[in-house]
Amino acid sequence: LNENHFLSCLVEFSKTSPAAVQVNVRDALNQAMDEELERDEKVFLLGEEVAQYDGAYKVSRGLWKKYGDKRIIDTPITEMGFAGIAVGAAFAGLRPICEFMTWNFSMQAIDQVINSAAKTYYMSAGAQPVPIVFRGPNGSSAGVAAQHSQCFAAWYGHCPGLKVVSPWNSEDARGLLKAAIRDNNPVVFLENELMYGVPFDLSEEVMHKDFVLPIGKAKVERQGTHITLVSHSRCVGFCLDAAAVLAKEGVECEVVNLRTIRPLDVETIEASVMKTGHLVTVEGGWPQYGVGAEICARIMEGPAFNYLDAPAVRVTGVDIPMPYAKILEDHSVPQIKDIIFTVKKVLNM
């Protein structure tokens, strides 16, 4: 089955096909890895607790039992070392999936991700590809405090040579992880712990073992006419919730799910902004030099600027390290009411 043909048929599937089964994001990731491990014996998974513990967040549940020590490898708590080992294995012909228990720990290994993985194909003028996936939960969770709550979308999204993917729902998780594993380039795969347990309906087509989503293509989750909301990961759900509330007041929001941070699908955003004339970006990460900042800059520089009826603005996490107490944490991340408030400000309501 030709993959390009297949995915071009599937892009619009969800509107027309009946739901086949309910799958939560965790299981979608698990099934994606299972299928890709089965499909290609060069694929293997390494990381802390991925094997015998079934995964710190149970994302790799059952895989070690099925595939054994050779393909599912428990590592010591040595991120820089095992990330480097994973990249070296990719140099020499394997297709590693390197799990960071959370992306916060990737800072210990970030040199291997950027300098050893991302830049090598360019430095070698095409002689040395690096087919590796780095994956793990990113961004805020619940009550895990400052050192365990950072969003890395902007950091990794900054670097040429990397593809950076940020799925929202189960279909995203499944299709994008399969695509990432099949991609011959380094992919940073940013999951979200709070989404792991959330179920979504998946159609038969999505459950097909060759279902992949294109990396670098955003999806319009909800059509609208008055304002464009652009988001990624968990915040996409908040945008849809805000849109439902706003619809009762006669405001129709178009919600764009980025799916990929890098390469950024600016064309889909522009087309939407040229339709609605208003833009709000929504993200969990900090505002300064963030994903929303990049989107606003690109809109300024492109054809959509002339269609803006108001400045494009961002809804982001609060510019502080994440506090612990629940009331403080709740007020450190964008809530639905923040999105609604911002939409109304932009629309001058």
């Binding site: 293997f44 050779k70 490898i73 590592t75 010591p76 040595t78 820089m80 070392g81 095992f82 990330a83 480097g84 080992i85 994973a86 990249v87 070296g88 294995a89 990719a90 140099f91 020499a92 012909g93 394997l94 040199d111 291997q112 300098n115 050893s116 194909y121 360019y122 430095m123 070698s124 003028a125 095409g126 002689a127 040395q128 590809p129 690096v130 087919p131 040429p160 040579g161 593809k163 011959n184 380039n185 390469p263 520089e301 492109g302």
Partner: protein, 371 residues
């Protein structure tokens, strides 16, 4: 002819050699091994090492003429390490090193022309001018790495791939005395030993990490012992045969599935750390001169071959003349080859992808990138 090589080893080495009487010794012990050199091998090693030497000296010249720019870390003095390693492994084995990599790029199969043209940043360079001195690659040679120590986990990963694929190949992962204190190296030791990866970790100890002597950087300068639970061998890195024999032993050990080995090659660099370091503020000219006169790897090999009637003075001279031509030709190429074309600026971002657009320095400049 044969000569004896003196190795210093950790006590583990003796249990490997089935010398149970040594097992209680916690101190290191020395071993003598014999090595055999044929005339053919001798001439080949001489030619290869002399080519490396002349290539590095030519690079020195070109750098001073500002035809080579940026970083340039020269390998002259250390030739026996690269040559001995290559002589002890197969072309299908793997090797990775740090930034003092021109010698290894050559022994791993890249011709002098392509190395020099990469140093001068031309399109005929091994990385099409996009990598430079520290980023040259070849089959089963993973550079050339600029970040100190990062290449060691990468090498362990290559070894993991060898084990995974069951191809009986080994990976040689090199690092310097300066890098030997890096945490990620110990992380690599741990995983390599745990999983019995076929990785030969080699510390090229040239006594200085940039301007810092080993005494000033390391609480323990016994780099061959740093592997702790991994057997270690210390070798005279100026003696190409000793290096070769040690590598052969290590490669056999790894291929047998016994796990990794740590090796220390005692060597010396004549140049400073890089071309921007004169190399005499932290060591004396007398010291450099003494190594040159007493321990030069190429001179030592030549004298042993001559004194054992394995080659004549004329033969050696002929080889030298030949090498001179090769280097001149390569330098000419490196100087005259054009720089890479501007329309290839953005290529090689992603592998196996459709062409894509890359933003230029301003919003109106849209550049093309192909795989």
């Amino acid at each position: 002819f044969s000569w004896t090589c003196l190795f210093y080893t950790t006590h583990f080495y003796h249990t490997l050699l089935n010398k149970p009487e040594m097992q209680n010794e916690m101190e290191t012990s020395s071993s003598n091994l014999s090595a055999v050199l044929t005339r053919e091998q001798g001439l080949q090693y001489y030619r290869t090492m002399q080519t490396m030497r002349r290539m590095e000296l030519k690079a020195d010249q070109l750098y001073k003429q500002k035809i080579i720019r940026g970083f340039c870390h020269l390998y002259d003095g250390q030739e026996a390490c690269a040559m001995g390693i290559e002589a002890g492994i197969n072309p299908t084995d793997h090797l990775i090193t740090a930034y003092r990599a021109h010698g290894y790029t050559f022994t791993r199969g890249v011709c002098v022309r392509e190395i020099m043209a990469e140093l001068t940043g031309r399109r005929g360079g091994v990385a099409k001018g996009k990598g430079g001195s520290m980023h040259m690659y070849a089959k089963h040679f993973y550079g050339g790495n600029g970040i100190v120590g990062a290449q060691v986990p990468l090498g362990a990963g290559v070894a993991l791939a060898c084990q995974y694929q069951g191809n009986n190949q080994v990976c040689v992962a090199l690092y310097g005395d300066g890098a030997a204190n890096q945490g990620q190296i110990f992380e690599s030791f741990n995983m390599a030993a745990l999983w019995k990866l076929p990785c030969i970790f080699i510390c090229e100890n040239n006594k200085f990490g940039m301007g810092t002597s080993v005494e000033r950087s390391s609480a323990s300068t016994d780099y061959f012992k740093r592997g702790d639970y991994i057997p270690g061998i210390k070798v005279d890195g100026m003696d190409v045969l000793c290096v070769r024999e040690a590598i052969k032993f290590a490669a056999d050990y790894c291929r047998a599935g016994k796990g990794p080995i740590v090796m220390e090659l005692e060597t010396y660099r004549y140049h400073g750390h890089s071309m921007s370091d004169p190399g005499v503020s932290y060591r004396s000219r007398e010291e450099i001169q003494e190594v040159r006169s007493k321990s030069d790897p190429i001179t030592m090999l030549k004298e042993r071959m001559l004194s054992n009637n394995m080659a004549s003075v004329e033969e050696i001279k002929e080889i030298d003349v030949d090498i001179r031509k090769v280097i001149e030709d390569a330098a000419q190429f490196a100087i005259s080859d054009p720089e890479p074309p501007l329309d290839e600026l953005c290529n090689h971002i992603f592998a196996n992808d459709l062409p894509m657009e890359v933003r230029g320095t301003n919003p109106w400049v849209k550049l093309k990138s192909v795989s």
